[in-house]
Amino acid sequence: MLKRLKKILSGFFGRKDQIKLGIYGPPNTGKTTLANRISEEFTGEEMGSVSEVPHETRVVKKKEKIDLEANGKNISMNLLDMPGISTKVDYKEFIEHGIDEDDAKARSKEATKGVVEAIKWLDKVDAVLVVFDSAKDPYTQVNVTILGNLEAKDIPIILVANKTDLDESDPDSIRDAFPQYNFTEISAKEKDNLENLYREIVENV
């Protein structure tokens, strides 16, 4: 009901010039790959490096003034690629990925700060893409916490079931776990179904 009221009011008073669109989710769900795809397509530049090692993005990355067009509509936004939110960061996990001990400890420290920064940004974003690895169990406390906070602040949400190129991908499990939100499934890596996501953004943000 509040969302509908907000939409009606925004029709009267006009939209903000630049929407702050945050990309949230746990580590390794493909947030930066998605941010790179969006940024590449509309500005010609990537936003950040991607890695198999968790917590590759440890500070909030911003790309300003992206004019996203889809379905004959457009939206001007600042895209924010958030560090993955997690309840634990163990430097030993980084060592298992071949990082030496000192670097693993430093990475771990930076990662914990990144999580805190991403949580603080929940108060400042205008809309959010919550990115899931569709090959993993979606019902986690991290996802419940992100969605609950956004809902409490009445921030528009689009659930993005990523990694549909994987054999184990099960986007329906995400739709079933959180049926109340706008939903789209993509493979950011394979650039699959991104047009649908862009349509969801211009229609619902």
């Binding site: 939110i85 634990k88 400890k105 999580v115 019902y139 991290v142 609950g148 906070n149």
Partner: protein, 126 residues
């Protein structure tokens, strides 16, 4: 000098009743949770946390994370409030906290499966 971890024979599980918890402010509960969890206990609270409180719990565990404490694992059953109940809770200052929270250090607690109405966890004994 860093404290050396004392080897334990098993995992202590503490249950805290709703009655005991309702006397405490959230910041007190947060400190109590972190102290207990860092002492390698598993805590079971007879109340749910709301989303903002869960975010604070994650934030706090990240701030306390170091080489000896890798963070937390938590799970639970949330109070299924609709938006009217949430507004009433805020106005009256008495939100519906019915539910359950289980929290432990990620060193000793591992989630196996979680759903809206069923959870299974493993307590790791080393």
């Amino acid at each position: 000098m860093a404290k050396k971890k004392k080897k334990k024979d098993g995992v202590k599980i503490e249950f805290l009743s709703k009655l005991r918890l309702q006397e405490k402010a959230f910041t007190e509960k947060l400190d109590m949770i972190m102290d207990s969890v860092k002492d390698e206990n598993i805590l079971v609270l007879e109340e749910a946390l709301d989303p903002e409180e869960k975010a604070k719990l994650i934030e706090k565990s990240m701030e306390e994370c170091d080489e000896k404490f890798p963070g937390i694992e938590f799970s639970g059953f949330d109070s299924q409030n609709n938006w009217i109940e949430r507004i009433i809770g805020r106005i009256t200052g008495k939100p519906n906290k019915n539910g359950l929270l289980i929290v432990g250090s990620s060193d000793i607690m591992e989630k196996v499966q979680e759903d809206k109405d069923a959870i299974s966890m493993i307590a790791k004994l080393e």
